[in-house]
Each structure stands twice: as structure tokens, then as C-alpha cells.
Symmetry: D2
Subunit: 329 residues, 4 copies
């Protein structure tokens, strides 16, 4: 795994999957029933990771599908302004709507999301809309698990993974498990394991790996024994406030602890983690340092109101890494 | 047609159909892409009419279905506080979401709505959830056309109309045509004509009657010849700024002109019209006066930001009727 | 109600609804698992009634939709050869298949049908395919209840009924209730009562009227009190081997007993009954005689292997009426 | 690749996928419109292969789903009597019907099939119904391409393949492409390539490999270069009357020519080919001989009326191999 691979390529990272709208409670620390105003942001895990990556200076592209309406156009405008290539952001012409996430922040510990994902436009990306020439141009293809939840988006992602492998592009799989889009845990396990086995890097929480392995209470040891018998080179497993672990095929084990911060909400932590971790890997930093970048970035985002808009710069991350104590657990 | 009929009944008016969420642009006179904040209101034509009626002092009830989530609970709370009986507001247990309407106000002339109506909870009201004992208790059953757009809400409304007729309850049909929920104009015409033929009062715009009659460029004369050969006693046809007409089976023709006002947006005009017109009829006023109540109420709502929240009181309507000039056309 | 009305019209009777394929067990008196060969016939209640009517000399037409395949073409050929006008037999171009009914005859008392009705082509007749000019040309429009089970066939039938009423065409409603195509008994009751209230003649079994009235154990007295408060002039209620009753709005009550016969299977009894009863009515016979025609025709068909192919001629019916004893019960 | 692997296992071969009903024209050499009688057989590619294998003496099992009706029970009875283990033949409890195939034999060159595959019960096998313990007990898992066409059968097969690989069971992929069950060729290519890359043996026609590779006019050289860069050890490509080729990873190329026969119809040729080829491989014969077994078995089945019932014995195949000339092309 070398960050240099993408040096001569047009893109460091291309993310594939959903780009949606977050409607964040303006009045928070209360139930959403009592929230009367909502602020609009771009959301969706792979969109956030691409935005986070671009904020850090990565050359990023995006493959996805947006609604042919005001929300869709807002997403394209926002991503463009963030510096992301949107040439492969397709427009849905069948009347599907942009996915929505209304966030409810009752307290830092009690956050929930009211999702509008029925027939969301992003799930209608078709395999024939995935272009081999585009994928060739990136060092990393970032796949978000939610894009596997329904056809035809599912087939579009499976094709993208196949094209990446055929063209020597590294596949990073961010598990990003969202129960509401899947029919059953069995179905989830089938596709999660299928893609994880073909990926170079897998990133997720301990719970998400249990989903992938179709079990409860799995251990990191079992997970890496399974995945290292297939293609993965790096497996990152997050354990919340206890910090995160990275395992390498060659036997390396690394741990990063979470940074202390004033938590406003938990949304966006995983996305900011992934973008900063990948940034560090792409820039050739060692895995232990990359984990710290991830942790630092996450701790910044959870202290702010939005996910996408709050993505930090390199300076902010490195300043926090230099000054902020970690949570010992 | 006598307003006295409902005097001893528990309710003056029970509305059946959708209750949804409006998300109104806080920053307006611009495209929605540039709107960053939205305010939340209860919306949906029959909900607005019930709210408008309750604001005017009518005893109102509501038959509908809401999502089992924060938006659904907000709707119930709001309607309760408005004084509406919500005992027949069913909760959807199959995961359907509350319908949403994002409003875009580019200018008073250029308003549009971005709708989220796919599998909206209100369309899942089932016929077995419509209770004959409840319908018996009202003088008027108000039916909104959109509730006919899909099964099983369609059958719930057809059953409610049948029960109303069987129990001597007057049926008022507000055409409320919304193209996005219907499969074809042929299908719309089938159900619109079916319900109109069985209603006592029909209210709609000239365009909506054309839809009902499955034709283009129809005339009021043809419409009333058709409808008066069936059950209707009063037919109200609205012609926008040219004012509105009411026809009675006995040959009466009445016209009301629109009141001058500073228009902010056009949403909510029809609902406020219907609630004030019906209020006046129920209170025993003559049809010409009832038309004026409708026009006055509409002109108040179009000058304000919301639909439901802006519903006027009797005093506001009567004050405007006393003081405001009409638009001569 | 006069049979003479249709004298100058092009058609005595136009049936609307399904035309399907029956696959009848060649080896019978055994479970279908052991049947190795099946014979192909045209089936479907309104198709059988039209075929039965044509066999009796009526001028018959058919409004329906067939699959664009070998089974669809077989149906058209068969109906044409039976003398039925098939100009309004539309061809489905969306890949829907012909409905199938595999019949199992374990014994005369134990007959069952294995149905293939998912997305059957006949249920895709659209309202815009129903032509007012065609309906104008008939004395009677025969509606089969099953065609109301799903959209868009449901709307096509509702439109046809509306056009019939507008043009002075008598509507005959054969309830023909088949549980497998309906979502719920509530939904069935909504549409059955809607169409029955608008029909001139209603024909069904006691069980089917209970379905229409959404009750259990209803009585003929309640049924006729309800229906005669709407449009119907004649109500025919069948009680199996106990015979059938006809009620008229003017107070007439008539009963016909079933003819003795060697029963092979029970399929097709209702369809042959309806075609012969209507034949007699159209030819100006009195209601009591019409009931006997119906009974005689049914007793012939239940003694034979098929439904459509077995439809009797006038001579066969009248010969049986002259010679065969009835079942006293 | 050694046939010995399965020697101590309970099953030589377990097939997964559809088991349906064939309704074969009794009167043939004419359009199906003129066929009045049909004979019933078990059909479906993997069912036929299992039946063919059992007829040759293999220990066979079947994983699938049948309708809860007479056709479903007929399938189970027939397979049991053929000696196949049906313990994993699940019964659909959601009302899905058995798939049907009406065959039309206009001439030996002009055969077509009228398919009833909408919501066929076999496509509803769920991943949680696939049992690892069962799959462990076989030497070979035979996967039929059609079972990949729709969810949840698709996920059931993907899971079965994963379990087979995890337990050292050889995966044989019979492409069996049927256009009517797939949404698009892109979707087909995604799943066909995914499973082919993970299989040990792949069997199909030249056209089916073009589908798998999402191209037109592909060559055998390109196909084997692609597949041998993944898991497959043997690739069999059939070219109709020109015979068939088998390629091995180690560079072997073998060809078998078709045997002369009196062709009645073309159905069933591929299934009988696969069962006899696999029989020979399992019995330890060399690949060239296995190809001859396949060709001989196919030439027997195309001369007979059914597919499943016509599956030959070892004696019939070897007798034909000994006596029948091949077609030189």
C-alpha cells in the first residue's frame, strides 16, 4: 500500500455513492417535534468524505446520482465549489427525489436521524453509468456500504469495484451501515462480505464488522483472520470512545485514542475520520499517524453543527493533534 | 342545504385526507438552491381547511394517518392545540413517512413546491379505519381530491363518502388536484367524477373542473349542467384574480371578486377560501356572503408566510371585507 | 326494464373484463399432482358469458385485454369464431401474461382451481381504452366483479359504467367474486357496492352479496332493501342447489329450482346461468322463465368438461327445461 | 480438479436454483395457438441437471423453493422418486407460484417457450434458507445463472457460493442465461462475472460468455485469458452444432463434436450436456471423454419429447458414443 501510486493520476480519490441533503435542527437540545427551523447542508457519507478530502487538499471526484430539482442542483453547486469533480454526478430523469436526513439533537448522547430514503435518487445510479476511463484516473476508489443496499446502485458499485481491481486502483470500503435501506441482515452480510473480500482497505465500527460477518459479538482477531485470507491489506476497526485500531496484513497492530472535545452531536464523526485517515495514507504518512489524523478530524466535526460544512483543514487537524489531550480508556 | 343541520351534532366539519409538513423558505424571493433555512408548518389541504375552520370557531375533526415519528407527532400536537379532534388521526405502523412540501418563493408570481409524496403516510389510511359512528357525528364531511390518488386512501375516502350519504351527512368535495400523485388524467377523471356526482357541494378552480370532466377548455355552463344532473346542490368555480362563482341547483348564480392585497405567495389560498366559505354556510349566511368570506380569507393568507399558521379569525376576515377594495376585472 | 331496448342496436350485450386460459385436467377424479395432461380452453367469467350469449344467438361484443403471445391469439381466434366482436380486445404491449386457471377435479364435490393471476394482462385494460362510441351501441353492458380488483382495469370498468349510464345502456353486474385478486374484503365491499348501486341488474350468490355488503350472514330482504334504494331494477340471488331468487323493484319475487343433472364439476355454472338468464330477458321473456333458462343452462355446463366450449344452444336449454325434473329442496 | 474429492461425501452434486413445470405441446409441428393439449414435466435447468445426474447414478441434492400448491408438490414427488434429496427444497408461504414453460415446437429449428416467470416461487429462496452444513456435504455445488436474476434468490446463491469456497466445495457455474428474468445486460454481466470469477468450472455457450463479458463477438481466447486470471480451472464453451471446447488452466484445449441425431426440439440439450459432463468428471474420466459424454447425452434428449423425463442412463450414453457418427464441421 503506497500513497505514491496516485501521484501521477488525475484524482487521489473518487468516492461513489450517495450525496443527499441534511436538514439540521437550528434549535437543538430538544426533541425534533419542538424544532421549528432547519438548516440545509450537503450530506451522505461518501459525499462528506469527498468534501472532507477536498478540504484537506486531495484531488477528489464523485460518482453518484442526484435528483433533477433544487436540492439536486444545490448538491452539485456545493460540491463544485468544494473543488470536487462532478462530471460523473448523473441527473436522475425518472422523478426520484434527493435523500433527506432531518437531524434531532436532544443531547450530545441522544442524537437521532429521521431519514427520507424511499426511492432516493442516489440508489438509482446504474452500472452502465459507471465509466472505466474515469475510474482509471484515480489512486483510490472509496465505496460506501449504503450504496450496496438496493439495485441498481448496488450493481453500479459492484461494477466500479471490478473496474478498479482490473485497473490497479485501490478499493477502500467504508462500511457505513444504515439499517433502514436494507431488507435483512442476511442480505447485508452477503454484499458486505463480497465487497470487503475484494477491497484493499476496510474501515468500520466493531458493530459494522459484526454485520459483515453475520454474527454478534465478534472479535477483531476473527475479523482480520477472515479478511486477510482475502484481498485486504489494512483493516481499521473503530471502538467509539475507546479509540480505533488498524491492522495490517503483515501483522502490524496500531491504536489511536480519541481526542477530548466538547461534543455537540455524533453525526459526521465517521466521515471526517475516513477522509483524514485516507489523506494521511495518500500523503505517505505511516498508519499510526494516519489513525491520529482520523481521530483528530472526527473530534473537530462532532463539536460543530454540520457534517460537510464542518470538515477541517490540515492546519486545524494538526493543531489539534499538537495541543489536545486524548481520552484514556 | 341548511347550516342548521349540524347544530346538534358534535362536529360542524370533519375533514378527511392528508396532513403533512410544509418546509417554507425562510430566505425567499430567490431560487430554493440559495435558501439555506426552512421553517416547519403543518400543511396539506384538508388539514389546512380543518385548521382554518377551527380558527373561525367551527367544531372540527380530522380523519387521516400520520407517520410514527417526530413529524407525525408534531402534526398531532399542532392540530390538537388548534382545537381539532384528532381521535381519528391514525398512526402508520408500516414505516411510511410524512409527506413534505418545500416551498420555493422566487417572486409572488413564481412559486413552486418541491414535493416528497412517495409512499406518504396519509395515503395509507385504510377503509377499515374509517368509522361510521364518527362520521355520523358531523354536519359536513370535507373530502380532498388528493386523498383519492392512491390505494388504500382512495378506498377509505370512497367508503367515507358512502357512509356520509347513508347517514345524511353533507359531502363537500374540494378538488385539490395535485398532478404528482396521480398516474394519468384518465384515472383522475374517473374518481373525481365519481365523488363529485355523490357530493352536495363541489369547490374547485376552472382547471380542476376540466380535469374532472376529462376535457380542455370546458365552460361553467357545461359543468353545472353535468353536476346538477347528479347530487350536487352548490358548485363553486374559482377563476383566480377574476374572482369566483357559485351556482345553485335552483338556478342561482353568484360571483365574488378577489380583494386587493400584497401577495407574498400563492400557497394556501384555496384552503383558506374553502374554510371561510364553509364557515359562512354553516353559520347560515347566504351564498353571496359566503363567497366574500372565502375571498377575504384567501387574500389574508396569500400575504403571509405560511398556510396553516396564517389562517385568519372571523374578526380579521370581516374587517378586511369591510375595508378592503376588490379587484375589478 | 325492456328487452326491446336493444333491438335496433348493433349489440345485445357487451361484456367487459377478463378472457383467460383454462387448463382442464384430462385425467380427473384425482388430485392435480397426478394429472399429467391438460386441455386448453378459453375461460374467465365475462368471456364465458359472451361466448354463452353468442352460442344462444345474441349479438355480443367484448372489451378486454389479452397478452401479445400464443395464448392471447388463441383467445381472439376462439372468440371470433364464436361470433363475438373482438374489435375492442386490446393487446397488452408491456409483457403481461394471460391469466391461467388449472382446474383440479377430485370429485364432483371437490373441485379447485390453481390460479395464475399475478399481473394478468386483462387487469391492465386502461380507462383511455374504453370507447364511448362502442358502449353506445349495446343494449346491455355486462360487468364482471373481478375486473374491479386492480388498477387500471378497475378504472376502465368504472368509466365504462359511467359511459353506459350516460348513454342509456343497461348495466348488468355479475359479482363473480374471486378472493385471490383482492387485497381485503373492505376494499372489495367499497367497489362492489359502488358499482352495484349504479347497476340495473345485479346477479350473484348469497355469499357474494355478503361480500358486497361487508357483512356475514346477510338476508335477501336486507340486500334488496339496500339495493332498491339505489338504481337496480332486478336483483338475482343464487343459493346453490336450493335454487335462485329474482327480486324486482316493483315488489316481484321469483324462484327457480335447479335441474337434476349428473355433475362432473362446478366450474362454469355461474357464467352459463348468467348468459341464459340475460338471453331470456333480452328476448322479452318474463323473469320467472328467465330464471329457468339460467338454471337449465347451468345444469348442462356442470355435466361437461369445459366451461366455454360446453355453453349450450337454445334448443339444448329448452329441451332440458321440457324434460328434466328439478331438485326439490 | 479431482473427482475423488467427493468420494466420501454424502452428495456428489448439489444443484441450487429453480425447479419448475414444463407444459409441452402434445400436438407439435404447429403453432401453439393450435395446440390443444399439454403434458406436464418437471423443468428448470438446475432441476434437470440434478435429475440427469441422478439418472446416471450420482448422489444428488437440491436447494430451491417451490410453491405451496399442486405443482409444487408434483415437483417434490418427482425429484424424490428420481432419487434426489429434497430436504432443502423449501416451500414458499407467501403465495408465489411455480414457474411455467409452455413449449412450442413448430419445427426442429423453430422452437420457442412461453414463460410464466413473474414472481416465480424459486426466485424467493432467501439467503437464510441456505445451510452451510448441507453444502459441506457435497463435492460439487452446481449454480444456475438464472437464480442470480432477482433478489432474494440472487443473495441465496451468492451466499451458497461463499459457503462452498469456505468449505472446499467445487463450484460449477452453468450460465443458463434467460433474458426474460433480467433487467438489463449490464446487470447480468455484473453478477455473471462475479460468480464466474469465483467458480472452479464454468459451462456455457459462446453467446452466454459474451453476456458475461458484456461484449459482442468475443473470442474463446479472451474469455479464458480473463477467467484463468481468477479461480476457474476448467472453462467449457459450447458452439452449437460445431461442437464444444473445454479449456484447462494448465493450457489444455479439448474439443468434442456433436453426434448425429434426429432432432425433435432443442430444449434440454444444455442441461443433459451438463449432467453427463459432470458425471464423467466426478467418475474421474478425462476431460476429452467428459465432453463426449456431454455431447452424447444432449443428442439423446433433443430427440425426445421432454427434458427431465428424457434424461438418459449411462448405458444409453455409452451405447450412443460407441455407435453414432459425429457431425463433422
Amino acid at each position: 500500500m503506497s500513497g505514491g501510486a496516485s501521484a501521477e493520476k488525475k484524482f487521489d480519490l473518487i468516492a461513489i455513492g450517495r450525496a443527499c441533503i441534511d436538514l439540521n435542527a437550528v434549535e437543538y437540545n430538544r426533541p425534533m417535534e419542538e424544532t421549528m427551523t432547519f438548516s440545509k447542508y450537503v450530506g451522505g457519507s461518501p459525499a462528506n468524505i469527498a468534501i472532507g478530502g477536498a478540504r484537506l487538499g486531495l484531488k477528489a471526484g464523485f460518482i453518484g446520482k442526484i435528483a433533477d430539482d433544487q436540492h439536486g442542483r444545490f448538491i452539485r453547486n456545493y460540491m463544485k465549489e468544494a473543488g470536487i469533480d462532478t462530471s460523473q454526478l448523473k441527473v436522475d430523469l425518472e422523478g426520484h427525489k434527493t435523500g433527506l436526513a432531518f437531524t434531532e439533537i436532544k443531547s450530545p448522547e441522544e442524537c437521532s436521524i429521521l431519514m427520507y430514503r424511499d426511492q432516493a435518487a442516489d440508489l438509482y445510479l446504474r452500472p452502465e453509468e459507471v465509466d472505466e476511463e474515469y475510474i482509471k484516473q484515480t489512486g483510490i476508489l472509496l465505496v460506501s456500504g449504503t450504496a450496496l443496499a438496493q439495485s441498481p446502485s448496488r450493481e453500479a458499485v459492484l461494477k466500479a469495484v471490478q473496474l478498479a481491481k482490473r485497473n490497479g486502483v485501490q478499493v477502500v470500503f467504508e462500511l457505513d451501515y444504515r439499517p433502514y435501506t436494507w431488507k435483512s441482515t442476511e442480505e447485508t452480510a452477503v454484499y458486505y462480505s463480497l465487497v470487503a473480500e475484494q477491497s484493499d482497505i476496510v474501515i468500520g465500527t466493531r458493530d459494522e464488522y459484526d454485520m459483515l460477518e453475520n454474527r454478534e459479538g465478534g472479535s477483531n482477531e476473527e475479523t482480520i483472520r477472515y479478511l486477510f485470507s482475502h484481498r485486504p491489506e489494512i483493516v481499521v476497526i473503530k471502538h467509539g470512545v475507546e479509540g480505533s485500531y488498524a491492522y495490517t496484513r503483515s501483522g502490524g497492530v496500531f491504536r489511536a485514542q480519541a481526542y477530548k472535545t466538547k461534543v455537540l452531536k455524533t453525526f459526521g464523526a465517521g466521515d471526517s475520520y475516513a477522509s483524514a485517515f485516507l489523506y494521511a495514507i495518500i500523503r505517505g504518512k505511516d498508519i499510526e499517524t494516519a489513525l491520529k489524523y482520523g481521530s483528530a478530524s472526527a473530534s473537530i466535526v462532532v463539536s460543530k453543527h454540520s457534517s460537510s460544512e464542518a470538515m477541517p483543514t490540515v492546519e486545524e487537524i494538526e493543531s489539534l493533534m499538537a495541543n489536545q489531550p486524548v481520552i484514556h480508556s
